[in-house]
């Protein structure tokens, strides 16, 4: 059954990390410029799908031994909890907040509550994509 996909496998080893890093870049680019958790998550999911095409589900499961459904749920909880911060501060739901902080190495950087929300979105997108793939293609 196994066809000769040496080229695909070899290039995937490199390309996977490029896509992964790009997805992180896109994720942090979000909010002020185009990007964000959803697009970043989709990129990450597509990188994993590439891994899946080059190898098989068992290998992917070994490389990334997560409970994808749990990952989705945790992502959703992070997003919801961030949004629910507005309940504590008694401002309309989903109201965002940001400030500037000085970090070593990074220098002056803005921290935005939307970023935490986006971390949740990122996890949900990656998790749900992999859950779907696992359910449809996992048992073959």
């Amino acid at each position: 059954m196994k066809s000769n996909d040496l080229i695909l496998q070899t290039s995937t080893r490199v390309v996977f990390f490029i896509i992964f890093l790009f997805s992180i870049h896109i994720f942090f680019a979000g909010h002020y410029t185009p990007g964000g958790g959803f697009v970043g998550g989709l990129l990450m999911a597509s990188a994993i799908v590439l891994l899946l095409l080059a190898y098989d589900f068992k290998t992917v499961k070994e490389v990334l031994p997560f409970n994808y459904l749990g990952m989705t749920a945790i992502g959703m909880l992070i997003a919801l909890t961030t949004a629910a911060g507005s309940l504590v501060f008694n401002v309309p739901f989903f109201t965002h907040w940001y400030d500037y902080f000085d970090f070593p190495l990074l220098g002056k950087t803005s921290i935005h509550t939307a970023m935490f929300f986006d971390i949740g979105v990122y996890l949900v997108v990656v998790g749900i994509t992999l859950t779907i793939i696992e359910m449809i293609g996992g048992d073959s």
Binding site: A73, I74, A83, A84, N90, P92, F93
Partner: protein
């Protein structure tokens, strides 16, 4: 302290608990306990919100502090919060019933999270003040309902869920297209803003067209004639608790949406749009009646009774005066309660006999008197015999219809009561009277377990009828808010400063 976000809570509480449930998918105890807790917590916050809305008027939150009409508004007026509270209550009781009746395998297949997500979508659809957001919440509860209808994976379920999904995907596409038309005409999606803009434009052919397209979109969901074709088949397939949820809640979201857009947004060409709605409502009643009388299957009879009720409620909306609309809301809440009750009772009945065909049942009254007599009273309530819960709504609907000059239509509505009574009482006559036929006679304890939520819902439904006088101020406020759209508009566009 003034809680700004109270409006949001009935939406995010079930979402939060449902998400947590995804983490404990293997533990039956956690699923049951958290599932019930989620529904109960939603009920509590919606009751708080109900008290708040009754006291202070319409509550609005614009998400993310982006001012309306640019941000998404969540609006809780009387109609919305009454429906939210009722939906939460019914979800709680149906979940309670499911604990005893659904079976472990189904319970562990995402039943509780899916139900809570469905409640999220339903509460969101009732609450949102943005027409595109309404579409989003429609999708949320539809996704969850796809899970619920296919739960268990029996042959009939797979066939019907396929049908259900196709119908709803087509409806969803049409929904987006219709919203696109509306947006291209007005340039806004906020319902209050839409009402203002369309009021300025006045009567225009294209707006009436969009109004009818919305009627089609929501009509598919609500099950009005001739768009209910999918409903009896699809609702027949899932297990009974799911059927009770669908029958009591899902069609009502369609009715709510029609009521909302036909009282708030499309009020400029009433002679055309509302007459159309009136004709369809009457046809819905007629065809629903035929269906209800034609079948000998207990589930089918009650399912066709949903269709009749849809017609009656929309008749009141179409009559479009304060009395009729108030009656419609009263009847809508009544119908949610009593349909859930009847479905659960039918569930117990099917559990006892192991059959769904009336001809194979008989003589149950001697062994199950509580079920028998409560069922009889529930049927009287369904038909609207005073002082039970259907009466107040129906009398107001008829009064409003006659005031509006819809004489023969009102007579049809009144006569439909007879059909409802006849069709549902047949179940009583066949199943409880007559010669005793063989049935499963399951252990008494299981029967009693199932009867507890049923009896609680029975008491609530009866209370809703008998003590309606005390609730009337709430419903009168609802009617006033619906007929005077400036209240809604001011709350959304004027109040935020």
């Amino acid at each position: 302290m003034k809680l700004i976000n109270l409006v949001v809570l009935p939406i995010i509480v079930p979402l939060f608990i449902g998400t947590v449930l995804l983490l404990f998918r293997k533990s039956l105890l956690a699923q049951r306990a958290l599932g019930l807790f989620g529904a109960a917590a939603t009920l509590v916050v919606s009751l708080f919100l109900l008290a708040k809305v009754a006291e202070d008027g319409i509550q609005v939150v614009t998400l993310g502090s982006w001012a309306a009409p640019y941000g998404i508004s969540l609006v809780s007026d009387m109609l919305s919060i009454l429906l939210v509270a009722t939906a939460s209550l019914l979800t709680l009781l149906v979940l309670w019933y499911s604990v005893y009746s659904l079976g472990e395998k189904r319970e562990l297949s995402f039943f509780y999270p899916a139900t809570l997500f469905m409640l999220t979508g339903i509460n969101g659809a009732f609450t949102t003040g943005d027409i595109f957001n309404l579409f989003v919440f429609f999708e949320v509860f539809l996704m969850a309902s796809y899970v619920l209808i296919a739960l268990g994976g029996e042959r009939i379920q797979l066939r019907e869920s396929m049908k259900y999904i196709i119908v709803n995907v087509v409806a969803a596409a049409l929904f987006v297209i219709t919203i696109g038309y509306l947006y291209s005409i007005t340039g806004t999606l906020n319902m209050a803003d839409l009402a203002v803009k369309l009021g300025d434009i006045g009567s225009m052919g294209v707006i009436s067209t969009v109004a009818i397209m919305f009627l089609v979109v929501f009509g598919i969901k609500a099950g009005i004639f001739p768009l209910y074709f999918w409903l009896p088949g699809s609702y027949y397939a899932p297990p009974l608790p799911v059927l009770a949820l669908f029958g009591a809640l899902l069609t009502k979201v369609g009715i709510y949406s029609i009521t909302r857009v036909y009282t708030l947004i499309f009020t400029t060409d009433v002679a055309f749009t509302h007459d159309m709605l009136m004709m369809l409502a009457i046809a819905t009643i007629l065809f629903g009646s035929i269906g209800a009388l034609a079948y000998m299957d207990v589930k089918k009879i009650i399912i066709y009774n949903i269709v009749i009720a849809v017609g009656v409620i929309l008749f009141g909306v179409a009559a479009f005066n304060e009395v009729a609309v108030t009656g419609s809301v009263l009847y809508l809440i009544h119908d949610m309660l009593v349909k859930a009750l009847l479905f659960l009772m039918i569930g117990v009945l099917i559990f006892i006999t192991g059959k769904t065909n009336l001809r194979e049942m008989g003589g149950l009254i001697r062994h199950y008197p509580v079920l028998g007599w409560t069922y009889l009273v529930a049927v009287f309530a369904l038909a609207g015999i005073p002082p039970l819960s259907g009466f107040a709504g129906k009398i107001l609907i008829l009064q409003g219809g006659l005031e509006g000059g819809f004489v023969w239509q009102s007579i049809v509505v009144a006569l439909s009561t007879m059909v409802v009574l006849l069709s549902a009482i047949r179940i009583f006559i066949y199943a409880f009277w007559g010669a005793e036929k063989s049935f499963n006679s399951p252990p008494k304890a299981k029967y009693v377990n199932r009867m507890i939520p049923v009896v609680i819902l029975f008491v609530i439904t009866m209370g809703y009828g008998v003590f309606i006088e005390f609730l009337m101020p709430l419903f009168q406020a609802t009617g006033t808010q619906l007929m005077d759209s400036s209240l809604y508009i001011d709350a959304v566009l004027g109040g935020e400063k």
